[in-house]
């Protein structure tokens, strides 16, 4: 490789915080990107990957300042460049795609206006020529009947569509480099792969180099030739994707790879006694009422759903967002009212007027997705745990204290954590506390609603393992709600697939994963890559071909 051929060179870049001369967000980052090359930048939250990506075109927040090193693009030093010259690069030579399609388009401007801007700023095309270009790129990124949609506002598009529009606006001028920061993380699992493949295709067509920033190592490895792994502000390992997957040198990289979910062992529950929880023909309607005179409107969120969970069994509830899986979980927990059907606990119907109500209430616990909002910010961990024993007042204080101590140790925390407040703990620690709270009263049934989705990859693996261990030890039944099939594959005994408030398919985990009956399940499964060890190294592959999402979700 000759010295001048590279497109981008980042040399010992240091990023710090204004007013804090010692602090470093990024330390001695050095890498280069060749024209047309696809490079992945992988790291967990707080690793500095986003700031590194943004600082390339000077779009980091004003509190973050360069503290040394250089960035050269096509041989020109970007840090020495005037603000005006830098602007000429942005959008024209270097494009950028952001994570949140919901907030990265201006809500008060039409799509047409927003797509037109790069052309107005960087070219001398006439209005008709600009329109032609816009329609062409909209067509290319797969927006149906683009002419009719030019005058639409961002809120009139779905998340996936918005991300396509973002992509269109970044690729409009065929930049030499595209920086994509978690471009599909906020999207529904079903459309993630589609959008990503579109991005890769477009980049390849135009000879655009790609810097793909993500927390998802397998996903990045699937598309990029080279990978850089970032941890706490430093690039700890860099090299060809194959090499890094096959023989990772750095301990952190190995940890990331080990965190990939693997299929758990098969357990059999055939011939077990009556199910612990059974749901028969359950329906939920959301009633919305606006204003004093407005009519009430009903929307069916769950339509005559039946399922059962046996003692000690882990049943996973999967589906894309809006499939009704969370609604079902919350209805079973009696957090929302149901409109028809019944819920049976140990064969007895449950209702609030029933004498067994309290028994069910205390035996059915829930772990929520967001450990920030599931713990009262004003309570110490000790108080949070002791609250869960509210109905066991008769117990002596010392017995109570023992149970609290035991519970905190059981979830891998220490006694000293009992006197902390939630905000003094990390996300993973908070989720451990939430788990401790839900099992301290030794319930028979636990609903875990996206319980590990908000966590970083490595933390997610640990919490998942903890959950599996506790389940084995205490033998509670579990309804595990998740959009992430990788996680489900590791934990579940049986899988229930939902779509639009109805059950599409259910069966033993291996059956559903290996020979799915419905196209919808196949589509969900096609979004997750698998890692296979072969004689020559490691191979990443998809389980199924990418489906036509529009067809499946119709």
């Amino acid at each position: 490789m000759s010295e001048t051929s590279e497109l981008l060179r980042v040399d010992t870049l240091e990023l710090g915080i204004a007013h804090l001369p010692e602090a470093r967000i990024v330390r001695k980052a050095s890498f280069e990107i060749q024209p047309g090359e696809f490079v992945g930048l992988v790291g967990e939250s707080g690793s500095g990957k986003t700031m590194l990506g943004r600082s390339i075109i000077g779009l980091q927040p004003s509190a973050i300042v360069p503290r040394g090193g250089s960035i050269t693009f096509r041989g020109k030093d970007l840090s020495a460049m005037s603000a005006k010259d830098l602007r000429h690069l942005r959008g024209a030579e270097i494009g950028m795609v952001f994570q949140e399609p919901m907030t990265s388009l201006n809500p008060s401007m039409t799509i047409g206006q927003q797509l037109e801007e790069p052309l107005q700023v960087h070219t001398k095309l006439s209005a008709t020529e600009r329109r032609g270009e816009i329609l062409e790129i909209m067509e290319r990124v797969g927006i149906p009947s683009p002419e009719d949609r030019l005058k639409d506002y961002p809120h009139e598009f779905s998340g996936g569509m918005r991300q396509r529009i973002m992509l269109a606006s970044a690729m409009l001028l065929k930049p030499a480099l595209l920086i994509a920061d978690e471009p599909t993380t906020a999207l529904d699992a079903l459309v993630q792969r589609e959008v990503l493949e579109l991005m890769v295709e477009l980049s390849r067509e135009n000879g655009t180099a790609l810097l793909l920033i993500s927390h998802d190592l397998p996903m990045v490895a699937r598309y990029c030739e080279r990978i850089m792994v970032m941890c706490q502000g430093e690039i700890v390992e860099a090299g060809p994707a194959q090499t890094i997957l096959a023989c990772p040198q750095n301990a952190y990289t190995r940890k990331l790879l080990a965190a990939m979910p693997k299929r758990g062992p098969v357990r059999s529950f055939e011939g077990a006694e009556t199910p612990i929880v059974e749901v028969r023909d359950l329906s939920v309607d959301y009633v919305s009422r606006s204003g004093l005179l407005a009519r009430t409107s009903r929307k069916r969120a769950l339509n005559r759903v039946s399922l059962s969970v046996r003692r000690g069994e882990v049943v996973a509830l999967v589906g894309a967002s809006g499939s009704g899986k969370t609604t079902l979980g919350r209805a079973i927990a009696h957090l929302i009212p149901t409109s028809e059907g019944e819920i049976l606990f140990r064969g007895q119907p449950v209702s609030k007027r029933n004498s067994e109500w309290m028994d069910y209430r205390l035996n059915c616990q829930m772990i929520f997705q967001d450990p920030f909002s599931s713990l009262d910010p004003r309570f110490t961990i000790r108080r949070i745990l002791s609250e869960a024993l509210y109905h066991e007042k008769a117990q002596e204080v010392s017995v109570r204290e023992d149970r609290i101590r035991q519970a905190i140790l059981e979830v891998g925390l220490e006694e000293m954590h009992l006197d902390r407040l939630p905000h003094e703990m990390s996300g993973g620690q908070r989720q451990r506390v939430a788990i401790a709270r839900s099992i301290i009263s030794e319930p028979d049934f636990v609903i875990a609603d996206e319980a590990v989705s908000a966590l970083d990859v490595t933390v997610q693996a640990q919490v998942l393992e903890l959950l599996a261990d506790l389940q084995k030890k205490h033998g509670f039944s579990c309804l595990f709600i998740s959009h992430d099939l990788g996680v489900v594959e590791q934990l579940a005994d049986r899988v229930v697939v939902m779509r639009d408030g109805e059950i599409v398919e259910q069966g033993l985990r291996d059956t559903v994963f290996d020979v799915p009956k419905s196209d919808y399940t196949r589509a969900l499964l096609s979004a997750i890559p698998t890692l296979r060890r072969t004689q020559t190294g490691v191979e990443l592959s998809w389980r199924f071909d990418a489906p036509n999402v529009a067809e499946v979700t119709r």
């Binding site: 004093l292 927990a333 957090l335 309290m358 059915c364 599931s374 609250e387 109905h391 939430a434 709270r437």
Partner: protein, 271 residues
């Protein structure tokens, strides 16, 4: 100096100064604020009377100190009234929802359809111009704002998962409300109460200025200003000092209010 520090220190200093003045006016004034002395009328500041005398020869600084006490007590009572009843209505309405909520909001929205100073004026004509009339009128005029804020806070709290977790643990409603909902509503209530203090003080002064507040001869900054109008040419100090007191107190409350808001609830900036 940064904006945050200006807010905290300058605002705190001004507020503390006027609270101290109010307390001072309660225990000691150099002269009797109501004593008429026609031989010493309209004396310029300096000569025996630090800030001069008014058209009846009453000592201005004594009257200012007494007025500070009146203004501070009216504002405190009004804000307490609005906060206590507003919080009560708002939390019940937000947690209960359904028809209770609709009824409370009907009442609140109707009150909110009147500009607050107009509502205070109308209520004053019913309640009569005296200190408790003013407190009640202003309290009722400002209560709907608190009700709305608290209701909003409670409704968003209801969606918080720790409230649902509390339900899952089988806690009775009164426990959930008391242990989780009320303490977590305190931040927005503190923020709104601080900024409301300023509005109440301003409206109270305006009412006094119009002759509809605490009736003379009891001094308030507002009625002192109104009394000064005919003498502006001969005795400008009569118009300068009471206004300066209102402006500086308000400045203090506004600056300190910004600090409190940034400290407790950064999301409410600018409201």
């Amino acid at each position: 100096m940064s904006i945050g520090k200006t807010n905290k220190y300058l605002g705190g200093l001004l507020v503390a100064f006027f609270l101290l003045a109010a307390f001072f006016g309660w225990v000691y004034t150099p002269f009797d604020p109501l004593a008429i002395n026609l031989r010493a009328k309209l004396e310029a500041p300096g000569s025996g009377h630090l800030l001069g005398t008014d058209e009846y020869g009453r000592d201005v600084i004594s009257r200012l100190l007494t007025a500070a006490r009146t203004s501070v007590s009216i504002s405190l009572l009004t804000v307490s009234f609005a906060v206590i009843f507003g919080t009560l209505l708002g939390s019940v309405s937000g947690y209960a929802r359904g028809w209770v909520d609709r009824l409370v909001m009907l009442f609140t929205d109707t009150l909110l359809a009147f500009p607050s100073i107009l509502l205070a004026l109308a209520l004053l004509s019913i309640l009569g111009a005296n200190m408790y009339g003013v407190v009640l009128a202003l309290g009722l005029a400002y209560m709907p704002t608190v009700t709305r804020v608290v209701r909003g806070a409670v409704m968003s709290l209801r969606e918080q998962q720790f409230i649902e977790a509390s339900r899952l643990m089988g806690h009775p409603v009164h426990y959930t409300l008391w242990a989780h909902v009320v303490p977590n509503c305190l931040a927005p209530v503190i923020v709104i109460a601080t900024s409301m203090f300023g509005s109440v003080l301003l409206t109270e002064s305006a009412l006094s200025f119009l002759g509809l507040g605490v009736p003379p001869p009891a001094p308030t900054w507002g009625n002192m200003l109104a009394g000064a109008r005919p003498y502006m040419a001969q005795a400008p100090w009569l118009g300068i000092f009471p206004g300066l007191c209102i402006a500086l107190t308000l400045l203090g409350i506004n600056l300190f209010g910004d600090y409190v808001r940034d400290r407790f609830d950064p999301r409410m900036r600018g409201l």
